[in-house]
Each structure stands twice: as structure tokens, then as C-alpha cells.
Amino acid sequence: MPSDKVTTESTGRRSVSELKAAVEALIFVSDEPLPVRSIVKLLGEEKEAIESALEQLSSEFSERESGLQVREIAGGWQMSTRTEFHEEVREFLKSKPSAKLSLASLETLAVIAYKQPVTVPEILEIRGVQSASSIKTLLDKRLIISRGRKDTVGKPMQYGTSRDFLIQFGLKDLSELPSIEDFEDLVQ
């Protein structure tokens, strides 16, 4: 851990190590992935200093083989357990792996994720089947949200993925999804 001995004082009131600790405390208490801009606003430090504190914190957690990890997800930073300990944690929380989505819903979600904003008829075109109940399920699970209406006949509602989608699928942002073209090579 050479980090905080080498780097110089942050631009704000806090030393690098203080800043790291403050950031750690905030990420810990936050229920949701915490965006950098919220931390900037809250601590009144430079964005760069905070980003560097976050990066350092994250690599320190992984270097010391902690049971926890600090990572960027859904446009914010989050502290969570590492996957290695899922058995112990699951047993402790007595949680079953949460109900997974049906194949139909997953397919519908994939179409929405890659084609957003997308309307119900457009989803039908790709999937070849009505997807109403899947869309309802995805809305209920807050994985998708409405994205306004499309300016065509009937002004159909358009759908896109939500922030919860990013969180549940462990994505920093949509650009982290493999490109749909990558799947082309795999198709026969």
C-alpha cells in the first residue's frame, strides 16, 4: 500500500488519508450507489481528489483481501460483500437466491436493454411473441421504466432499462453491456 504515503495533500481541507476515510464512511452509510458528484458536493473537495480517493480505497480493499469490495456501479460507488463469501452470507441471511426471471422476461429485458427506447410492437417484432406479461413483470421488478412516448401512430409508450437494472446486473453503465454485434459471431 504505497498510495497515501506517496501522494500529496488533497486540494481541500482534508489530507488524502482523511479524505479516503470520509469517502469510505459515506459509501458505507449510503443505501444506494453514491455518485461522485454527491460526494463532491458534500465534502467540498475537488472531483479529482475524490475520484482518486475512491480508486485507492477500492484497490486497497482488494489488495488486503477483504471480505468486502468497493466498486463503481450504476453511476455511483458502492460497498458490498465479495462474491467469494456468498455461501456464508446467504446462509446467515437465510436468503435464497432471489427468484430469477423467466426466459421470456430475460429475453424481453435483453431486447429492451439493447434497443432502448423501444415500444411494445418493436419488441414483438424481435421476439416473435407478445411480451405483455414479461413487460409487466419487468415493470413490477423496477428493471425497466417508461421513456416517454414515441412520435408515431398511437403514440406508443417506450421502455428503457432503469437504474435498478444496472444495480441488479452489476453494471457501471449501459456501455458495459457487451455489444450486441459481439453476439453475431456466435450465431451459427
Binding site: L101, R127, Q168
Partner: protein
């Protein structure tokens, strides 16, 4: 078709096709869910016939497709409209393929293969099936990650972060509630509020404690339910009673306070 939602994704993705199970040589069972649409059935048939997706033997595949649909009808499975639309498409392509090809003249564009559009759709569909697979993998990994438990500083708040759909749902619920209330006013009959109030007061005297969830559950009609509710409010207002609820969403108990 709601059943497909309850079927959990616990099987090997790679082997998933439209669930067509052969029970004997010619008796086949086709399980229909949202997943097994006409495109899935086509892909399954193409694979089974070991045909090339870029050069589909359209006559053979169409015959197979139609025989599946006939079989579904024979087995009294309601054939979804999409399957029939696809059947029509296949027949159309097949007939186009039978037309003699016009010789391609110099400088003239080659006529489009009648199968092209279908092939494009199949390829597109397959891409998204693979995308769904990769999402599934991601979700599985993420399910092994946990965030911290609730902490003291977090008052366990009843607040929810809302979307337009929550807004819409809230509105719909109110409207349903509202409608029921109006209907109630129209059907004013039978038991009066005074009677209900008397009944509940008497019961409380004897039982000392009333589980309100239970009491409300006993009410035969919406009207009675509302009367009971109003009566409880009246009792709370006028009598020496207290309302108890251990936890949010738990049953509420009405208790006589000894004076």
C-alpha cells in the same frame, strides 16, 4: 400463458429450445410459453433438420412447421395467432420460391431471395437470445453480492422512491376504492351503522380485545366492512379503548382500557 413467468430459470441455457418433447414416435408434445414463439419453433426445426440457416430448405421446413401446428390443434392446444401468421409467411415464401427465377440481366440488381427477411429476423432473434443468456450470467454473479444491513442511522423509513408507474398504480387503486364507495352509497340497505356499532361494542365488552383484521375479515359485504370500519373509529373516539399495532403491516388490535 402466465405460467411461463413462474417457471424459474433453473435449466441449462445452452440446451434450451422450444420445449418439444417426443413421447413416442409420432406423438409429440409441444409446450407453449411466451418463450416458445414461432421464431423459436422455426429455429428448432432448422436445427433438427440439420439445415443451414442461410439456405433454409423452405419447402421441407414449411411442411414440418405446418405439421406441428396441426398437431397442436389435434392436441387441443390453442394455437397463438403469431404461429398462424408465421405459417402464412412460410407458405408465401414457399410459393415465391416456386416461381421461375428471372435471369439476371447485366447491370440489373439481383432479385432479393424471398427468404432473406425471415433469415434476418431469425438471426436477430438469436442474437437477443444470446444477449439474454449473457444477462442471465451477470445476474447470477450479482446475486452472490450483498450490500450492508440496515444501520441505526437509517430510520426504517416507509418512504419509497417513485416512478410514474407507481404514480399510475396509486391512482388506479384510489379510483377502484372510490368506485366501491360510490357503489356502496347506492346500495344502502340492510344493517344500519347503529346496529353494527352496537354489535361491535357488545363484542368488545365480552372479548375485551378485538383483532381488527379478523373482525374486518368476517364482514360479508363491502358495505358491512365500511360500517365496521366507521364503527371502530366511533368506538375509538367515544370509548376507553386503545389501538395497538406491534409492527407496521401487522394486525391491529382494539383493546378495552380498564378504568
Amino acid at each position: 400463458m402466465n405460467d411461463s413467468e413462474t417457471k424459474q430459470l433453473e435449466f441449462d441455457f445452452k440446451n434450451v429450445q422450444a420445449e418439444i418433447v417426443s413421447e413416442s414416435s409420432d406423438e409429440l408434445r409441444l409446450e407453449l410459453g411466451e418463450f416458445a414463439g414461432p421464431l423459436d419453433l422455426l429455429l428448432y426445426l432448422i436445427r433438427r433438420e440439420q439445415a443451414n440457416i442461410f439456405d433454409i430448405p423452405i419447402a421441407r421446413i414449411t411442411d414440418k412447421y405446418l405439421s406441428y401446428i396441426k398437431m397442436m390443434e389435434r392436441l387441443d392446444i390453442a394455437v397463438a395467432g403469431e404461429f398462424l401468421v408465421m405459417a402464412a409467411t412460410l407458405i408465401e415464401i414457399k410459393s415465391k420460391m416456386l416461381l421461375p427465377q428471372e435471369p439476371v440481366e447485366e447491370g440489373e440488381e439481383e432479385t432479393l431471395d424471398p427468404r432473406q427477411e425471415l433469415v434476418d429476423r431469425l438471426l436477430e432473434h438469436q442474437k437477443f437470445k444470446l444477449a439474454a443468456e449473457s444477462l442471465w450470467t451477470r445476474a447470477t454473479v450479482e446475486q452472490a453480492v450483498f450490500t450492508r444491513g440496515t444501520i441505526e442511522t437509517d430510520e426504517n423509513n416507509p418512504e419509497i422512491s417513485a416512478t410514474v408507474f407507481d404514480l399510475f398504480e396509486a391512482f388506479q387503486k384510489i379510483m377502484v376504492r372510490h368506485k366501491e364507495q360510490i357503489e356502496l352509497e347506492i346500495h344502502r340497505e340492510e344493517m344500519s351503522l347503529a346496529e353494527m356499532l352496537r354489535n361491535l361494542k357488545a363484542r368488545l365488552k365480552i372479548e375485551k380485545r378485538l383483532n381488527l383484521t379478523k373482525v374486518f375479515g368476517e364482514m360479508g359485504s363491502r358495505r358491512e366492512l365500511i360500517l365496521a370500519f366507521i364503527s371502530v373509529l366511533e368506538i375509538v373516539r367515544t370509548e376507553a379503548v386503545a389501538l395497538f399495532q406491534k409492527n407496521t403491516f401487522e394486525d391491529i388490535t382494539l383493546e378495552l382500557v380498564e378504568s
